[in-house]
Amino acid sequence: MAVCVAVIAKENYPLYIKAASADSELKFYYTVHTSLDVIEEKVSSAGKNANELRELYLGLLYPTEDYKVYGYVTNTKIKFVIVVESSNSTLRDNEIRSMFKKLHNAYVDMLCNPFYTPGENITSKVFNNTVISMMQE
């Protein structure tokens, strides 16, 4: 169960951030913003051997005492960040991977909408519902 899901544009500004509770939203903004440091590092270090197909899933970006932050970067450099609670021990790497896969699919579906301009904030209800379902699992 995720507590925060974020989609970040190629230029590192947020396209979508949803926190499980409104109170902690600002905190997650900071968390997600800080995680960009790690994402950039991982992406740029992966870019050195260009021939290899980069895996989209970046794994655990960094843990905090209470949360674990996971990252995922699409081929178009759109970043997904999922924050889960550290205490939730049922979530293993595979579960996180499948969450990202689901998120990516939802993002692609949303992007297929001709009325959406890439780079705008995401306001799609379907996308939002997918994210909410990921938080309530």
Binding site: A9, K10, E11, N12, Y13, P14, L26, Y29, Y30, H33, T34, L36, D37, V38, E41, Y62, P63, T64, E65, T76, S86, S87, S89, T117, P118, G119
Partner: protein, 1156 residues
Amino acid sequence: METKPIVTSHGNQVVFSSLHKRLIEALPKEPTEWRRSYGRPARNVHVEASFVPYDDDILPDDSIKTLVSRLYFHIFWIDCDLEAYKQKEKEEISDWSAALKAKNIPDWLIVVFNSDENKSKSKLLPRSSVYDKIKSDFCSKNPDRIFVLEQGTDSKSQSLWNSFISRLRLLLLQAFTRHLQKYEDNMRALREKRNEVGWNFQEYFIVQEELAFMFEMLGLLDDAMIQYDELDALFTQFILNHASGQSVPWLKSLMEPCKTWAGLSLYKSISWEKRDLIKDNKASLLEFRNYLFSRQCAILLLQQRPGEIIHRAIEYLHATVQEMKTLEIEINDGGLDCWVYLSGLEVLLKCQELTDSVNPRSQSLNTAYLWDYVCRKLQRLGETCGLMPGDTNAPSSEQLSLVIDLTSGMGLTEQEDNDDNDGEELKVHPSDKLREALSSRESFQRIYLEQSELAMGTFKHIGRFRSARMIGKNLADFYMKLGEPQKAENYLSDAMTSYHQEGWKKLRDVTRLELANCQYQVNNKQKYSKTACQVASSNYLDMTDKQTHMSQVLAVAQSASSHVLLKASPLLKVEVTEISETTVAVDEKFYIKMTVENTGPCDIQCNSIWLTMVDCAPEMSFSSDKSWSKLKTPVTRQTSNSSLDNRIVMNLQNTNKQDDVMIDFRLHYEGNVVDPESVGIACTNSHEVLKRSDSSGGVLKKEEEPVTKDTLNQCITLNDVMLKPGKNFVTLKCEGISAGNYQLGQAGIEVGNIEFLTNMKSDLSIAVTCDNTFCEIIPDSLLAGRKQDITVCLHAGNIPIDEGCKVKITALDNIKIESTYDDDTVIIQDAVHRGGTTLMKINVFHEPSVQGETNIDSHIAFDCSWLPRALMTTVQFLNPFIVSHKLHTAGEMKYIQMMIQGQCKTQFVVSDWSLIADSKDLDLISLNKIESVMKVNADQSCSLLWQVKSNLAKLPKIEFVFKVNYGCVIDDDQSKQIIYKFSLDSFQTLFSIKSDVIPINDNKVCMTGTLSKFTIHVHQMPGREALNDQDLLYEVIGQSYWNVHGKSTGIFSVHGGNYTTSVEVMPLVAGFIPFPRVKLYKYTGPKKPDSSEVWIKNAVEDDDLFSTDDDSDDSGPITIPYTQPFDQGQVYYCSMGKQTQVLASDKTGEVEVSRV
């Protein structure tokens, strides 16, 4: 951990002690491959051993399950002769062997040491040496358990020694393998029982850790680490199972309320006290974890991997905190924070001098993170204990007692540690640091700031700026609480800027709000106003915050002593929607409609709203023929190339909405500018306009530029406007703008002493024109000599003309004006509005000028009653024709030709011509058709001829008058007359010249290159005034046909009316060529000048010899030679048109033929 496998030695202790040192050194020198069971990878091991004397009592049996302290191997040393062996040693060995067998120990070795004396004997009796005896007595089944060593340093004894060492290593390893296998089997069996009742993790822990010790002892650190990692994982799994409900009883001891939170200690590689605590099942979770992690660290330190330590430390701290929560272990408030702080700091201090050789970057990265983590814990502690600055109250009594509790909680074990580690006192211990920090606010602040800076610096060092900004922001909070907002400001503005640059609007606005609070405290009005305005317009902030800051800004606006300039955006968004006109006259009003969007939370009362108008170059907007000349010289290119130059075509249409990127049109042409092959408009910034905005980062704005007020341009102002939140529509009335083409410049909104400025991005424009009243005449080209109707357009320009105004038309110069108006004064019937036109029809006539100018400029004055000065209008007339005369001579006869040449297409007819001379001595005989009419136009001129006859010997100067009637064919009015006057003087013929070319020698014809004779006869006309006294000068001009040999000039005088001379000439070209020319001059000067000295004053052409001053022959001293040409018609050259045949000479190979 300095333990080594233990080996016992028995028998001859003298021998052993002599070899002991060598043995200890030699064993670990070379690695031995250790093949292991269960398919584990083989390892190279440096075998070491420590030796103890043998004793029956210390032999272990199978029940003892230790590994480290076990006696692995037993050696019996023997050095004696056969007799001694039989008597004494044999019995000893059999006792020893029996004891080992009883304990079921197969790991032993008998070493026979051959001293020199035994050596010789053994050689003599090979079958009966001590070695053979022992071998047969004890080692009949396993002969590798006996070894012979020899004393000495020769090669044989050396190689014996080497093989002994390697044998010993192998045997030792065999012993290890046997024990390990047994041990691991036991251990595995124990682990399998983990779900049974009564199983105890702590017990198992000790068992497996023993294995780890064993590996560590053998130097197999990786294997040792694996044991600990397995234990760690097993323990974690138990905790997870516990969390999911599968509780195990042995966990209860760990779940006791936690009383101590001493941090991790890395001073010693192993803490036996802790291990004993665990063994006794008395350790708390924290103690257990501390112990486990300290062991892992110890191994990692041996492996020199400090980076890994820090990496694991973060996980370890997080996981342990989670476990504490999962197991719901009671702990004092802050105790866990203390523990994290102490443990984290311990790791940091331990690792800060060490550099990870494998991955230094990852080390510094984790170090930074750990520092951050530690700082946050310190901050939490500070908050819990009331040590944060800004609290006005001193820490409460609960908080004080909490501090005491916390201090004691971490101190208990610490004290013991210190007792044990006197040598380590020099280091700053984390618990000392924390105690110091908790002791007072000041020291807390100092330590907090110090460590935060360290964390931030480390993050910056590794390029994690976002994390660094985050710490910076925390620091700013701290400084704000500390009451030092000036220190906080930089951190906040840095953070704000980076959030802004990355487009994190919410974070930006939240930080902005903090920055505004901070700047308000710093009392920096300029900066505060800017930030506060941005806060007020934020979409992400609370209304109350926005209102607070808005009202503070308004207060600043009223109170500020100096003027503050701010960017209008984002608080106020100004857009010009419409300009009422596209073109106005100077004194006309027009309106500009603006939308001012107030994004703030409340009304803003502004003193004024102003807008500047920027004049742009006039030719940009009105393209006309004249503009061509003002433009820069265009580059002419090949047709295939297209050119884009800087000719801006401004869009003068009113457009209500602009795109973000203005489309910039330019004139575009191909080929020559004057005669282009294609012309069009082209967009010069197409790359910008057509740029893909989805994937090319166009969303982020650029860095802000400083605000400067536009004070140069004309300004329109509207005072006292109330701007309500949302869109406000404002109309500016514009008056008194000077002429020009304007675009919008800058808009400003003045609120108190604050002025919000914005540069307008709009392609709206207005042309302000300044047109004076002027008259235009249609058609613009007129013919002289005709009455023509013209239309006068009176353009009112900017000044409207009222009804009843008068315009008096006055002709200047030679124009005759006829109009239907009284007194040539026009009374305006209908009022003419601004920019309007009124028409007047008049008839004009101008006399043609026959003297030759093509155009005549004249002026008409329009005296308008409403204008201070009369309007002067230039009218240009084209002269219809030119009249000229020409004098012709044929011997003595004279003729005058009159020519009328047309200059325009319009056809005129001339008639009734007459030429009259003012002398009665002269007869003019007309040679023209009588009573005919001739047509004259640009393509057709007419000529008239008169013969002049006179009997007088010398005629005076005679005036002639030529009169002719003309009329235009298209006009039906009667013809008009032109008069052309001219005079002629001394035009009668005085001399005639005849000349001839005669071939000389026997030639019949002239040949090129051969001299011929050129004779000249000058004949004075009879009946004319004799010029006997006058010296004359002839000149022969060969032109390009003849070469004159000798003198080409000669001076003579005509006595008797005739003069003949000859010169030699040579034809230069063959064919019929004209004769050389002969010219005659009047000559004054010495009689016999060299021809070279004769200075011919006028090189006149042909026979047109114009007269100069006649009196010149009297003037000046005679010494200067002086020639004077004759007047036109006075000398007649009879041989003018004569030609002679010249043949080409044979000498030249070429024939040069000239056609004349």
